[in-house]
């Protein structure tokens, strides 16, 4: 009889059941099973996909991006023609998405703030009107609103032949709004550079002014100085550039209007629909942001003898911003994501161009992966910004 071969110190050897009852062992086991299942499912899907693609004679990869797109895009911000490649087409789509999203974000912030403040007005009628606006437009699907505007805009305006001209040079027609624009000139590039230089200069002046005020208590007329620097520099650039005055004015030529800058009905529909829908959410964010600042803060500012306008700017707004910015960023992100609905009214945004690409080349996976990663990238950037902002804005507690 030999002694049981136990390790010294161990009372009895662990059986398999004991191992399975160990929490840590189980945790590892569960995770291995989960990952195994995911890998198995992934492998199954990928192998099916590869088989199906092979059967349909579709080659995988992003090689198609260099091929000629051979479809027209109705509005482009960069040089594009049907002879350009798919990569350029997708870039045009991306820029169109960015264009409508940026404008939508600016407009919905302005409109949303107005209605958010109006909902807190002491005026009963204004309060009710703002409530009706917010409740109506947030409870109707945004796609329905897009369809509605898209049907309304061409029908509400006259044919180009008898265009409606509210201001000289501005034409409202069923094919969109035409605005007069300056003819491209080097002076405008120069002005853009001047504007950037001015903004940088203002940033540093503001930093210096804050520092000086913190040290000496002397305020600096930052607003007037900034406006002066900006206008002065841009004007100077315009004059140096030779002060071009040539304008491209839209006018009827043949069956259509030539010249000027055209804002298409599709773009208008998407912009109005997204702006109106998102502004209702922004209004709610603004309202709760203002309500979150306790009235004691107003009283505190009053008791320090601070002017009401200064109190709003320096005491109330910074605090309501802390509450409002994260949900606001969320709404901006929602607007950007909702801009993908442009595909439903034919505005050539990223999804719309990808869809055309997908239909022409059959590269479904590649096209979807491109627009998915663009939106994902935008979301990640936004959440990075939010984390940074929250850290900057967080209450510094002792």
């Amino acid at each position: 009889m030999s002694k049981p071969q136990n390790v010294p110190g161990d009372v009895r050897s662990k059986s398999l059941v004991d191992y399975l009852n160990d929490e840590n062992v189980r945790a590892v086991l569960y995770q291995i099973i989960a990952i195994g299942l995911v890998i198995l499912a992934g492998w199954y899907l990928v192998s099916n996909t590869l088989y199906n693609l092979e059967k349909q004679n579709i080659s995988t990869g992003y090689g198609f991006l260099d091929l000629e797109a051979s479809f027209e895009i109705s509005e482009t911000m960069i040089d594009y023609s049907a002879q350009s490649d798919y990569a350029t087409a997708l870039l045009v789509g991306l820029l169109n998405t960015v264009k409508v999203a940026v404008l939508g974000i600016i407009l919905c912030t302005i409109i949303g703030t107005i209605f958010g403040v109006a909902r807190l007005s002491s005026n009963w009628l204004v309060r009710k009107l703002a409530t009706v606006y917010v409740e109506t437009f947030r409870n109707i699907p945004v796609l329905l609103q897009l369809f509605f505007w898209y049907a309304l805009i061409p029908a509400a305006f006259p044919h180009p032949r008898n265009a409606f001209e509210p201001l000289p040079g501005v034409l409202l027609t069923s094919r969109g709004t035409y605005l007069p624009v300056p003819v491209a000139d080097n002076a405008y590039t120069l002005m853009g550079i001047a504007a950037i230089i001015a903004l940088v200069a203002i940033y540093f002046i503001k930093k210096w002014a804050t520092k000086r005020q913190d040290a000496t208590g002397q305020p600096f007329p930052i607003l007037i100085t900034s406006i002066g620097i900006f206008v002065g520099l841009v004007l100077l650039a315009y004059l140096i550039g030779g002060a071009p005055t040539e304008m491209s004015i839209p006018a009827l030529k043949g069956f259509n209007i030539q010249g000027g800058y055209n804002i298409s009905p599709e773009f208008m529909a998407v912009l109005i629909g997204l702006t109106v829908y998102t502004s209702t959410y922004v209004a709610e964010v603004v309202r709760s942001g203002i309500q979150a600042v306790s009235s004691g803060q107003w009283e505190a500012a009053d008791s320090l003898g601070i002017k009401r306008s200064v109190a709003l700017r320096k005491v109330i707004l910074p605090q309501s911003m802390r509450v409002a910015i994260p949900p606001l960023t969320n709404q901006y992100l929602n607007l950007t994501k909702n801009s993908s609905l442009a595909v439903a009214v034919g505005y050539p945004d990223l999804v719309s161009v990808s869809n055309t690409t997908m239909n022409q080349t059959g590269q479904a996976i590649e096209a979807i992966s491109i627009f998915m990663s663009v939106y994902l990238g935008l979301s990640l950037l936004t959440s990075l910004f939010m984390n940074w902002f929250n850290k900057k804005m967080a209450l510094v507690e002792r």
Binding site: K55, W124, V142, L143, S379
Partner: protein
């Protein structure tokens, strides 16, 4: 004494007196408010009469194109004439009582769930109700036995489809979202990473990309010879999408349960699932009822996007009716207004109810 002098005069007894005092305080308090009031009244005077004139006075309900071309106002006859098409899509005409009945049952279950969620005695019936209700609705819509003819789901459409897509979406996303939320809260790194990646990827992309994926990529994923139809694919896409959003809602609820409750479960030596089921989840889920209703509202609105991949939900059937006859096409304002009114009624009442529920449930907390 100066305090007293500042107090507003007490409302006089007469109704007019009180009305005047109220108007002074709420409408004409200072020059700025007076200006706003006058501006608003002018705006309403400019907006409301033409709308009433168009929608009611000069409108017609008669379901004929001739009657519509005679009036200057709204042609509600368009809605009247195409009501069955708008409501039920291309579902076989003689069988349309089936989607109607299915819709009534579905609305009944939704209302009972929403209304009963407050009362513990009703709450335990919510899950059985769905377990029984969903197959009944499926049977009514598909048919195929017990004397009902089989109706392919490419013929489904209209309001029942919108309701089915959104409510089935949220019901099936519920357990999936719960698992994702628990995964995200878990301290097993692999499970946590999987959950976080899934949630963040889905929340980072628009619904339309998920629907495109469902309609274009799913067929490639399936083995040779197996196909699932477009409606089912869209439904799966919607479930996948909703689950990620619900997971975040549930995470909020789980985080709101005090740490001591988790520890209480541990100190009783309850296994993970038991402690979740008996201690944590009942508290967490109670907290997330209002935001879940809000998720359902946004899901209900977002379901309209299936139009883009070619399904005929309620918005899709309105467009279908507009295209059904070129003569009807110009009455899109009436069509969209009708759809908007229905969507508004459903979403607005649910939103109001969710706000009420939130207040009600908080009442219990305060006690």
């Amino acid at each position: 004494m100066s305090e007293n002098a500042k107090l507003p005069p007490l409302p006089t007894g007469t109704v007019t007196g009180r009305a005047v005092t109220w108007a002074k305080k709420n409408l004409f308090d200072g020059w700025f408010n007076t200006l706003l009031t006058i501006g608003s009244i002018a705006f309403l005077a400019w907006l409301i009469p033409p709308i009433i004139e168009w929608a009611i006075i000069n409108a017609t309900l008669e379901p004929s194109i001739e009657a519509c071309s005679e009036v200057t106002g709204a042609c509600w006859g368009f809605v009247n004439a195409n009501l069955r098409l708008i409501l039920f899509g291309t579902y076989p005409y003689d069988e349309q009582w089936r989607p109607l009945l299915a819709m009534i049952i579905l609305i009944g279950i939704i209302c009972a769930s929403l209304g009963g969620v407050k009362y513990p005695s009703v709450r335990k019936w919510i899950i059985p109700m769905w377990v029984i209700g969903v197959p009944v609705i499926a049977f009514l819509m598909w048919g195929g036995f017990l004397g009902l003819t089989y109706v392919q789901n490419s013929y489904w459409g209209g309001l029942p489809l919108t309701l089915i897509l959104s409510s089935i979406g949220i019901v099936f996303a519920f357990p999936f979202g719960l698992l994702l939320a628990l995964g995200r809260q878990s301290n097993m790194p692999a499970l946590k990473t999987l959950s976080v990646v899934y949630i963040e990827v889905i929340r980072g992309v628009p619904l339309i990309t998920v629907l495109f994926m469902a309609s274009v990529m799913f067929p490639l994923f399936l083995p040779d010879g197996v196909t699932i139809d477009k409606l089912l694919r869209a439904q799966i896409g919607i479930i996948m999408f909703t689950a990620a959003y619900l997971a975040e809602v549930f995470r909020g609820g789980l985080q709101a349960v005090p740490r001591g409750q988790f520890e209480a479960g541990e100190s009783l030596a309850l296994p993970y699932w038991k402690s979740m089921r008996l201690i944590i989840l009942p508290q967490a889920l109670r907290l997330v009822i209002p935001p879940t209703v809000n998720s359902f509202i946004s899901m209900f609105k977002d379901t309209t996007l299936v139009v883009i991949i070619g399904l005929f939900d309620f918005l899709g059937t309105v467009k279908l009716a507009l295209r059904s006859d070129p003569a009807w096409t110009k009455y899109y304002v009436e069509g969209y207004a009708f759809a908007a009114a229905i969507f508004f009624l459903i979403c607005f009442s649910m939103a109001k109810y969710s706000a009420y529920l939130e207040k009600e449930l908080r009442k219990g907390e305060r006690r």
